[in-house]
Amino acid sequence: MATETTLEITLEVARYRPGVDTEPTLQSYQVPLREHWAILDGLTYVKDHLDGTLSFRWSCRMGICGSCGMTVNGEPQLSCATFLTDYAPGPIRVEPLRNFPVVRDLVVDIDDFMTKLPKVTPWLVREVQSPVEDGEYLQTPEELDEYQQYSMCINCMLCYSACPVYSLEPDFLGPAAIALAQRYNLDSRDEGADERRDVLSSPEGIWACTFVGECSAVCPKGVDPAGAIQRYKLTAATESIKELLMPRSRSRR
């Protein structure tokens, strides 16, 4: 390890305190360039040894809690799952996720997503709840496969940061929220598709998406929100044709 300590890499980190600073500035820090060190390890090195005032979020450091999304050399990334050596010799520019207001330095405000998420009814809806004493709702592995990838969303916000529609249309529900709605729509145990329909089919829902596909490209968990949106567009189109041909009152709402 002793030989490694001589190697360093420069992090150019965005600093910003709204209300105090007029605009974000970049501050350079030299951190050790070591094998296995993630961008996050570089940032915690800064925090611990160089500058206690740098603010960023992190927790699990294993790519599952979704806290540490940042823009690394222009790309949205989980900083715990992106490694210094992949950017050698540097410098590496670390900025907050785009398309969100900045709270401080690398910390962004995700209240917009937290407000939108409940609107898509992201929970299992049943007409009648069976008592747990009756045992599990049966679901075959094939039925589980239908929605499983959409259940993998860690709410890390990389897809919102990458989405060109969200940057122009802040009312857009966005990739993760729609993918989570589809996660329940495609769950064989769920009966809430009608309840989710109005919000998903609204102008702020699926129809806002122009299918750029950036969301799926940046997802660290292999969720395909763009696919979810396209799939629901087909469902919604089919539903409206059906409704045109066979008018009916909806069962819920």
């Binding site: 927790s59 294993m62 045992g135 969303c153 769920d190």
Partner: protein, 580 residues
């Protein structure tokens, strides 16, 4: 009163969300709030991998689950608590299923179960190897359907307000703005999780700083069995990232540097090609981590820049099984170790994983302090005794989160929505203290990270897998010095918005309390039991120590350890037998 809630839940992980839902269901008229230092879906429950235990099949019984848990805990579990736990765990996991948890299934659509360490039957429900993630997101999304549950996301609780032996709320800081608020309540439920970050090498997330334990301790509630710290046998070197026990349950082998399945040398059974329950790699975590130390002492581990390791061999399982049952293990190995477990050996070493001890509660989650409840890893009921079995912690969060939520709802429902004026005054005092902390400037001060790093080294050296009187005494002295240095620690960041340095400083104060409780409890337990192994007292001593330690804070800030008998119902203390 603007910031009054009938019940305040501190922590938004598995136990906290389950507790909040239980309050809402028990009495919809109650106002319940969840205060968490991270957004609920960031909570550490998210990192749990292997599964959740509950009797599922016709071939299994609650008594067998109870016996495995009690023997796994080296008879330090309270057996009435274990009986309640095994009885309610299946119902809780089914409830999660009804809420949408994507449990892995059998071909006929029923819940699938897998083997797990120390369990004599297959009873561990799983969602591939991301069980905690799915459990947490299911709970979080379900909690969103309860629009009455108020959330304080990214608020950090600094103090529990107490008057005349009763908890009446908390003081908390909103991270985004630095706003400090007194949040009063008729009941407080602590669900803040564990304290792995007190040690240098841990599977635990950065947020696991023992906040709830220290909050309760400072409020006058005792901490129980704090000397019992679980080392999980398989963490990735350097990062400490957990490689789930499910890897061994699915058939993985632990090999020393000679490629030898060394567990056969430690009274854990004989090797077989296929996994056998309660045998070899499916032994309990304490015994496996201890076996590693002996292998190391015999020179049969492999030296790496990040310490000695052994190898976890999954190659014979094949890509198909690994991708179906252990996809996250493959992802983690690839990303953080640059290896593919389908073709390569996985280097692993024991890593601090779980705190068996915690805030002393009864079976309802109630602490001795009226109005204060605790559930999940922060609490010690105790179902885990001296060593928790893998896959018991997730159902513990649900069973006792539910119990604490119900009990707190009943308690809070009995009282008017007003709190004593002394509480409001206490809140103001704390608000002033925090404002002063934020502004504190210490010339030539100590760095927070330096004190934290030294505390972690002290804990590992003093209270690791094996301890003795000398190592613990030395650790106690070092902690006393670190405490003095902490008084001179300062912060560089004096801004109010998202000041993570202030939070790190407050967390370090909490961790020093927790560290001291661990060391003091360990020093007085002159026996070896489960995860507490004293080289100077190598035998279990039921005469003296079939008892829970209870550590209480004294008025001068020092700790005092007492004891409480273990509740035995049907399983008298016996020998822990694995592999024979």
């Amino acid at each position: 009163m603007a910031n009054y809630h009938d019940v305040v839940v501190v922590g938004g992980g598995g136990a906290g969300l389950r507790a909040a839902i239980a309050v809402a269901e028990t009495n919809p008229a109650l106002r319940v709030a969840v205060i968490s230092k991270v957004y609920p879906m960031r909570s550490h429950t998210v990192s749990a991998e292997g599964g959740a235990a509950a009797v599922a099949g016709a071939d299994d019984t609650r008594d067998e689950h109870a016996y495995d848990t009690v023997s796994g805990g080296d008879w330090l579990c309270d057996q009435d608590a274990v009986e309640a736990f095994v009885a309610e765990a299946p119902r809780e996991l089914l409830r999660l299923e009804h809420w949408g948890c994507p449990w892995s299934r059998q071909p006929d659509g029923k819940i699938a179960v897998r083997a797990f360490g120390g369990m004599k039957k297959k009873r561990t429900w799983f969602a591939a190897d991301r069980t905690g993630f799915h459990l947490l997101h299911t709970l979080f999304q379900t909690a969103l359907s309860y629009s009455d549950i108020v959330r304080y996301d990214e608020w950090y609780v600094t103090k529990i307000l107490v008057d005349d032996g009763r908890a009446y709320g908390v003081v908390a800081i909103e991270l985004a703005t630095g706003r400090i608020e007194t949040i009063t309540a008729n009941a407080v439920i602590l669900c803040t999780g564990g304290c792995g970050r007190v040690f240098p090498f841990t599977t635990n997330a950065n947020i696991k700083t023992g906040d709830g334990m220290a909050l309760a301790y400072r409020a006058g509630a005792p901490l129980k069995d704090m000397e019992f710290v679980q080392y999980h046998p398989t963490g990735l070197p350097f990062t400490g990232i957990l490689i789930t026990e499910a890897a061994r349950a699915e058939g993985g082998w632990l090999l020393n540097k000679d490629g030898y399945r060394y567990l056969q040398d430690y009274d854990l059974g004989t090797p077989t090609p296929d996994p056998v329950l309660r045998n070899m790699e499916l032994g309990p975590r304490d015994r496996l981590s201890q076996a590693f130390v002996h292998e190391m002492e015999k020179g049969r581990t492999i030296d790496t820049p990040y310490g000695p390791v052994v190898n976890l061999d999954l190659r014979h399982l094949g890509a198909k099984l690994i991708d179906a049952k252990l996809p996250f293990v493959r992802e983690l190995c690839s990303k953080y170790q640059n290896i593919d477990p389908v073709r390569e050996l996985v280097p692993v070493r024991p890593v601090v994983h779980y705190m068996m001890g915690g805030v002393h509660t009864d079976l309802r989650g109630a602490t001795p302090l009226d109005g204060l409840y605790a559930a999940g890893e922060v609490a010690c009921v105790s179902i885990n005794g001296a060593n928790r079995l893998g896959s018991n912690s997730l159902p513990e969060c649900l069973v006792f989160g539910n119990r604490a939520g119900r009990a707190a709802a009943v308690f809070a429902g009995r009282y008017h929505r007003e709190v004593p004026s002394s509480i409001v005054a206490q809140g103001r005092d704390e608000e002033r203290r925090l404002a002063a902390d934020l502004g504190r400037r210490v010339e030539g001060h100590q760095r927070i990270a330096d004190i934290r790093t030294e505390m972690q080294a002290t804990m590992e050296n003093g209270a690791g897998i094996y301890r003795d009187g000398d190592s613990l005494t030395k650790a106690a002295h070092e902690l006393a010095e670190l405490r003095l240095r902490f008084q001179h620690a300062g912060i560089d960041d004096h801004s109010t918005n998202f000041n993570t340095e202030l939070i790190a400083w407050l967390e370090l104060g909490f961790m020093l309390d927790v560290a001291e409780c661990i060391i003091d409890s360990a020093a007085l337990r002159e026996e070896s039991r489960g995860a507490h192994q004293r080289t100077d007292f190598p035998a279990r001593d039921d005469e003296q120590f079939l008892a829970h330690s209870l550590v209480r804070r004294q008025p001068d800030g020092s700790s005092r350890v007492g004891y409480l008998p273990v509740t035995l119902t049907r399983w008298p203390p016996g020998e822990r037998v694995y592999g024979r």
